[in-house]
């Protein structure tokens, strides 16, 4: 039953994505057209508070649920993969109007056609996996 807490965290995440409207195709368009502060406010608040939380966890050496130290994964120091991968991601984000989490949330919310977007995302992930060695990283 160790997994139940992750299901609950996922449910909360799904509710937050819907109620914040971050899972809205319209809101993503509004953001990329700079026509509302809404999405910038959400991301800004999350990152600002997140940075404070991460700082405090490191400073106070807070342990996790199991008593282990909390470790933060370090991202590989490079730039082509972040810029190029990011660009491709952004093109898709604006077009489908959903990033990976909201695709699944929207499917549950009642947009069954999101299955096509999810299939596309799986296909894209697979294509990356098979072409990985030929791409600049």
């Amino acid at each position: 039953m160790k997994g139940v807490k992750f299901v609950i965290a996922g449910i909360l995440f799904g509710v937050i994505m819907v109620k914040s409207e971050a899972a809205s195709w319209y809101r993503i368009q509004e953001m990329f057209r700079f026509q509302s502060f809404h999405m910038y406010g959400i991301i800004g608040t999350a990152v600002g508070l997140g940075a404070i939380a991460v700082f405090l966890i490191k400073k106070l050496k807070i342990k996790d649920f199991y008593g282990h130290p909390i470790v933060f994964p370090h991202k590989e120091k490079s730039w082509p993969k972040y810029i190029l991968g990011g660009l491709i991601f952004g093109l898709g984000w604006a077009l489908a109007g959903a990033c990976p989490g909201p695709m699944f949330v929207n499917f549950g919310y009642g947009y069954p056609t999101m299955v096509i977007v999810i299939l596309g995302a799986l296909l894209g992930t697979y294509l990356y996996g098979i072409t990985k060695n030929k791409l600049p990283h």
């Binding site: 509710v15 502060f37 940075a51 898709g92 989490g101 549950g108």
Partner: protein, 185 residues
Amino acid sequence: MIELLKQPWPWYASGTAITFIMVLLLYFGKSFGFSSNLRTLCTLAGAGKTHHFFDFNWRTQRWNLLFMAGAVFGGYLSAVWLKSDQPLQLAPSTIADLQTLGVPFDGGLNPSSIFNWSFAFSPKGLITLLGGGLMVGFGSRYAGGCTSGHAISGLSNLQLPSLWAVIGFFAGGLMMTHVLFPLIF
């Protein structure tokens, strides 16, 4: 309480709630990053047999698959119990811009003119939904993370690579919206 939750949440409440999810997962000894599930699903479908990238022990990501299942259910619960009676408060300028492109605003979360089966199987629909999804999947794995892994977890941990990725996300989104949308729609 339910009445309060049913209203659209202001940005500061939403942002705080997202940080809460990130901290909760850290407390459970995990790192918030949703797109890893796409790789795990490829592995479950058997991609690890032929391609090294997918050959890993998927059980290490079991927690994330459970989180994903919860997210689907959370979406369902929001529709059943927490649906707002008001239409989405989209900026009038966005409504006008989208109208020009032939995507009318219907007050919902997503445009019904795009997310319906007959559009989904039209050439334009396949470009939008399958093509859009494909770029999200390819790009998030190439960049090593999506909005949750880079914009939220990575930037909170002041990771420079995540900043490059987020700059890429925005540059791509702006290019799609301002250059390619008029050609596609």
